[in-house]
Symmetry: C2
Subunit: 120 residues, 2 copies
Amino acid sequence: MAIQDVECCEEICVHEERIKVIDAQMLEEDELYDLAELFKVFGDSTRIRILFVLSEAELCVCDLAQTLHMNQSAISHQLKILKQAKLVTSRREGKSVFYSLADDHVRTILGQGMEHIEEK
Amino acid sequence: MAIQDVECCEEICVHEERIKVIDAQMLEEDELYDLAELFKVFGDSTRIRILFVLSEAELCVCDLAQTLHMNQSAISHQLKILKQAKLVTSRREGKSVFYSLADDHVRTILGQGMEHIEEK
DNA sequence: TGAACATATGAAGAATTGTTCATATGTTTA
DNA sequence: TAAACATATGAACAATTCTTCATATGTTCA
């Protein structure tokens, strides 16, 4: 992101004190980045579908692929992203790997999102 | 998304009944899409910063640009996206346009996101 | 051990997205 | 009405992302 001087409205709306206070309370750069990265993970309909399905039942990669009508590779790639974000966990059982939701934040966030879009 | 037949594990992990039940409960295509679109809006650090700043105070475009050290055009573009997603609202006051958070879902979602990344 | 199966992953191409630049729109005031 | 100011927006380029294909890894069982 380019940092630069910005010519700005001077009379009405620049409240320097207010800006200073906000600046001080601002999230750290890496927190901001992590937060955006987290939501980016939610921001894909394939991953939303995976999370939604896993909120109903623990499933293996193959079941997920079949349920979502997508090939195994695509699902595996998305599961990797979900796992890196700690939104899902997995356990191996023989040849299969079963995935499930990592914790309740996932459900809460999905639920809040649903509420928001339903209010429109 | 390509829909196709997937050769799938047959012995261990395909639970056809389970899949049928999940299929029936699955979100509608457009709900899924809307939900992903919503989270996509949260999935950018500039927009997260805008939302965070607006959670502290109502600000005009110019103040936002100055606070975030970005130019006015970039901020306006992002505000448009936030407004389309109904995450912010605006009111005009003379030459300036003031933006603020649209509702408390925004705060809840941001808060849950913060909790999640802080638990790591 | 080797064949069969389930999952993971690297590379590549298509599609999407964010910022910048230039300019348009809308508001105030001289 | 014209100039000055604040905001909005279209086009373009760079960067990121998602899916597919091919193949590698890991597990079971004959």
